[in-house]
Amino acid sequence: MPDIRRIAVERVARLMEFAERHASERPELARDAVLLAMRIARKARVRIPYRYRRLFCRKCGTPFLTPGSLRVRVRARRSTHVVITCLRCGYVKRIPALREKTK
């Protein structure tokens, strides 16, 4: 009997791919898919695969797949880092940019 975890990871991947597909025309559907993916990952205690992790806002679940959903800036104040602001809920995520040569 296949493991719940494995199914969960597959489901998360398919949900994110669904969100990607529908993000431009039907953003509400895409956001619901992202929220479901987060819930599944939480229930099964699996991590969202790395390549999907940056694609959405952790707070409100809005996918960052259309222009107008996020703001990206590069700041060098304390240390060089990338600032991503969700334009729906105002949540700010910072990504330290170590290895400044290749990002």
Partner: protein, 94 residues
């Protein structure tokens, strides 16, 4: 490694994004489209003509088209439950 839902794992897998054909159990209008939403008792389907409709799981028999191409016929009452709850076991029913 098994990738994607199989006929056996469809009960615990994700429906969102699958093509589906919904036939009412008492007879009536058949709907074909893609699954775009799910709640405890309903499936939300984007019909091929562009309309989004919600159908009660209890009253329909669904035929899902898996990504590999196979089709699985599932009785609606067998998939009742919120999607995240369906994931962690529910029953040994086919």
């Amino acid at each position: 490694m098994v990738k994607g839902p199989t006929a056996k794992s469809i009960l615990r897998h994700e429906f969102l994004g699958l093509r589906v054909r919904a036939e009412p159990r008492g007879g009536g209008m058949v709907h074909e489209g893609e699954v775009v939403g799910e709640t405890r008792n309903m499936l939300r389907i984007l019909r091929d003509d562009g309309r989004i409709i919600m159908l009660p799981k209890n009253s329909y028999t669904f035929i899902f088209t898996l990504p590999r191409g196979e089709k699985v016929k599932v009785e609606g009452w067998a998939i009742i439950g919120r999607p995240e709850e369906r994931l962690k076991k529910r029953y040994r029913r086919w």
